[in-house]
């Protein structure tokens, strides 16, 4: 990791940490914030995908797939942002999906790292286990809407801490300075 990459990791980690604290101090307001954040993320992803289609993917074989995905994401984002009262149930489903997938990927990466003899496998395994644990907690409290904000905030804090730690870790793969 270069010095610029390290600084960027620390700054983004600090922003995530501040965001999580804001969510925890006012859960009701925080819940709305999570929903709007979700809408914003989906809209941004949709716009990025559409931009990608018009500048790059339209010239490739089967590139129309990017156009369809962009339209669908944009549509979901617009719909999410326009709803005043989304059942909290759906937000929890989203969180379950995110944490379960990230956790599984991280556990698989830990397994490969161990097979290759890399010392980073323990760090990756713990990361993956925590993500899977978050997904399990979401399932356990699927009917408790207020839990969504709490879990989202804990997830943010956890990711923020990891980002900051990884920025200061000595990496094996030193990029050309």
């Amino acid at each position: 990791m270069t010095a610029v990459q390290r600084i960027r990791e620390v700054i983004s980690g600090l922003f995530m940490f501040i965001g999580a604290l804001l969510l925890l101090t006012d859960p009701e307001y925080g819940y709305l914030l999570v929903v709007y954040l979700l809408a914003f993320i989906l809209l941004t992803m949709g716009i990025r995908k559409l931009y990608y289609y018009f500048t790059m993917a339209r010239y490739m074989v089967d590139g129309k797939e990017s156009l369809y995905i962009g339209v669908i994401l944009f549509d979901f984002g617009a719909l999410t942002g326009s709803l005043t009262d989304i059942p909290k149930f759906y937000v929890l489903f989203y969180l379950i999906g995110i944490h379960a997938f990230s956790g599984l990927v991280e556990v698989l990466r830990a397994r490969e790292a161990r097979l290759q003899g890399a010392s980073s496998w323990k760090f990756k395994l713990i990361h993956g286990m925590v993500d899977l644990l978050m997904a399990i907690i979401c399932i356990m409290f699927i009917n408790e809407g207020s839990i969504a904000v709490l879990i989202y905030a804990i997830g943010l804090i956890y990711s923020a801490v990891l980002k900051i730690i990884s920025a200061f870790r000595k990496t094996r793969f030193v990029y050309i300075q």
């Binding site: 993917a57 490969e112 793969f173 030193v174 050309i176």
Partner: protein, 368 residues
């Protein structure tokens, strides 16, 4: 290409070009070492990491695909495994961002191959080995780019193997799976490839990952639709390409030995393989996962000497022990790798393409 061609076939090419057994072994070892000289290995022997010529699977998984990370990946893969054919290629009505990637598509007989061979002239055998790896890969890895790119390197399932049975060429649909642990099943045309990733810069979209190991098999002849070629079917004829690669290696090595005045692209030493043509084509067209044993036997017949197994650790202790690193085997390899990488990256930078990063004029290395 794999160890069979980069080590054993390169050894045979060096013998045919007139090198001694010992010199040929050094060239072949260096050619194969390009596939193994990762930052992890260099870190282990306390060597400069900017000499890395490859990335381990784990390194690639951890590599970031932001601009800095992409430049690092491109410096390695475009320089050593996917040498761009034409840095100034044109394609109508395409935006700059697209063209930056399009111009990194690998192919044989480009200006950079000539520069690669010329750079190795008058230098070490290790440098000659590096040049042979790069040259050979321009044939095997044609039509793919050494930078992560969905719009260039993606493929769909329109893949057909062209197999000759009883003198008649027939098409057989190729099936792909995503199990890196499983061997390719040649009888059923079942191959492993990388998973489709819709993100332009995903590491899954680097090089020929989406086509699996098909470009690495000398026997394979297949048709497919490259992402960048407007739905035109491409026929990749590896037996023909590998034969040309072998003959061009001999030509380049003869130039490096001083037997011929200049190295020009699209010239091949067919006459030197003529007495062995049938044998070579037998090896190239034989359907097998790796042709090391056949190439080794051929090389040993040519030289009358024994070709040692490739051992990644062979020169590491020497490098760590010696005071003047430049005199060691790996020291010479490292210097060659840095020089070559610097030359290629500078050419990419001077073409107005920032995908390999900024390269300083004086140093001539890929330092940022």
């Amino acid at each position: 290409m794999q160890e069979d061609f980069h080590y054993y076939a390169t050894y045979a090419a060096a013998i045919l070009a007139g090198y001694t057994h010992k010199e040929s072994l050094d060239i072949a070892y260096s050619a194969q070492f390009v596939d193994l000289c990762s930052k992890t290995l260099l870190s282990k022997i306390k060597a400069p990491q900017k000499a890395a010529t490859t990335q381990l699977q784990l390194e690639m998984m951890d590599a970031r695909t932001d601009m800095v990370g992409l430049q690092d990946i491109t410096r390695i893969w475009a320089s050593f495994h996917f040498l761009p054919k034409d840095l100034y290629a044109e394609k109508a009505k395409r935006p700059k961002g697209y063209m930056r990637k399009y111009r990194l598509i690998c192919g044989p007989n480009g200006e950079l191959v000539k520069k690669t061979v010329e750079l190795a002239k008058g230098r070490t055998l290790q440098h000659a080995g590096i040049a042979m790896h790069v040259l050979a890969d321009t044939w095997a890895h044609s039509y793919f780019a050494g930078t992560p790119s969905l719009v260039i390197n993606n493929t769909n399932d329109e893949f057909y193997e062209l197999i000759t049975i009883d003198g008649k060429e027939t098409e057989r649909k190729i099936k792909f799976r995503h199990n890196p642990g499983a061997d390719d099943d040649l009888d059923k045309s079942l191959y492993t490839n990388s998973i489709y990733q819709g993100s332009e810069d995903s590491i899954m979209n680097l090089g020929h990952g989406r086509a699996g190991h098909l470009p690495d098999y000398s026997f394979a002849k297949y048709s497919y639709l490259p992402a960048w070629d407007d739905y035109n079917a491409m026929i990749k004829d590896n037996p023909s390409d590998y034969r040309k690669a072998f003959c061009q290696m001999i030509r380049a090595l003869r130039f490096l030995r001083g037997d011929i005045e200049a190295f020009e692209t699209d010239e091949y030493d067919y006459e030197l393989i003529a007495p062995h043509e049938e044998r070579i084509m037998q090896i190239i067209t034989k359907r097998q996962l790796i042709a090391s044993a056949d190439w080794r036997a051929f090389g040993e017949e040519l030289s009358g000497d024994t070709v040692d197994d490739f051992d990644i650790n062979r020169y590491q202790d020497e490098y760590m022990a010696v005071e003047n690193k430049d005199d060691s085997f790996l020291g010479k390899f490292i210097n060659g790798a840095i020089l070559h990488k610097g030359m290629v990256c500078r050419q990419i930078f001077e073409s107005g393409n920032m995908l390999a990063g900024y390269v300083g004029e004086e140093k001539g290395t890929a330092d940022r």
